[in-house]
Amino acid sequence: MSTDSETARVTPDPAPDLDHGRGARIGLAVLRIAIGALWIQNSGWKTPPNFGQDGGTGLFKFTNYAVEYPVFPPFSWLIENVVLPNFTLFGYLTLVVEASLGAFLLVGLATRFWAVVGIAQSLAITMSVLNAPNEFPWTYYLMIVAHIVLLATAAGRTAGLDGVLRARWQQSSGRAAKLLMRLS
């Protein structure tokens, strides 16, 4: 018969001080849904087919800030020489990525994957507008940090579809299921 101290040695709690209670789960779900709402609302002003290119407004204006007010010179070069000459394509790409971020984070499906996409997109936005006039830098820092929290906590498993579907994926031997286990 094992003693309590032996059991504790076999199954150590890696983070005994973390709160896994109802309040923590509700807080994570609220964060994920709020970040989803952020991207949903952001999809609203990326207007095809020219995305503000004609009047120097909208997405074109903010993308152009990366060149007018450089933050990271290699990124500014990329925007000037690759993105702006092919702006319609990049406009649609931005719209689809941000709408997908909103859709998937809202329902909590493949949340860790979309959290990584969110970090990348937040970084791109940060490097575009950080030095522009009247911008509040912590807006963009907090966007990055919020996605890091969603990634680190696998937030879709709390009140999200990841939490419901992982049981199915775990029992499946298919490649897609194994991949989704990692992405959720």
Partner: protein, 126 residues
């Protein structure tokens, strides 16, 4: 059905009600002024009708456990989201929305289709 199967069914039902509630609550956005601070998604009259039908189908699916109702709700939302994505920024815009409308509908559609998959796919422990 095993206890695990029963728990899973209960979880699917809860998510079904949750998604239906999200669709229903989104209809309120039709009243939001055209102010970016409060309007998370642009909802026009036809989009509100679509959201209402999606919510009703979702609630019926959760109540009866009929996976086909989740598929109907998801299919309708995805179709409306794709229509919005295609018509957004053009002179013809039946749902009178924008990218935010498409993203919201896509999220609900993906959610209900995933629920249909979860309720429909075979489970070894059942």
């Amino acid at each position: 059905m095993t206890m695990a199967g029963s728990t899973q069914k209960h979880r699917l039902q809860r998510v079904g009600y949750g998604l239906s509630a999200a669709a229903a609550v989104s209809i309120v956005l039709i009243l939001a002024p055209s102010n970016d601070a409060v309007r998370i998604a642009k909802i026009g009259p036809l989009a509100a009708v679509v959201l209402l039908v999606v919510a009703v189908l979702g609630v019926l699916g959760a109540r009866t456990g009929q996976a086909a109702l989740y598929l109907a709700a998801g299919g309708l939302a995805v179709a409306a989201g794709l229509l919005q994505l295609v018509q957004f920024g053009r002179s013809t815009n039946w749902l009178d929305g924008n990218g935010s409308t498409a993203a919201l509908l896509a999220g609900l559609g993906i959610g209900f289709c995933a629920l249909w998959y979860a309720a429909h796919a075979p489970r070894n422990s059942d």
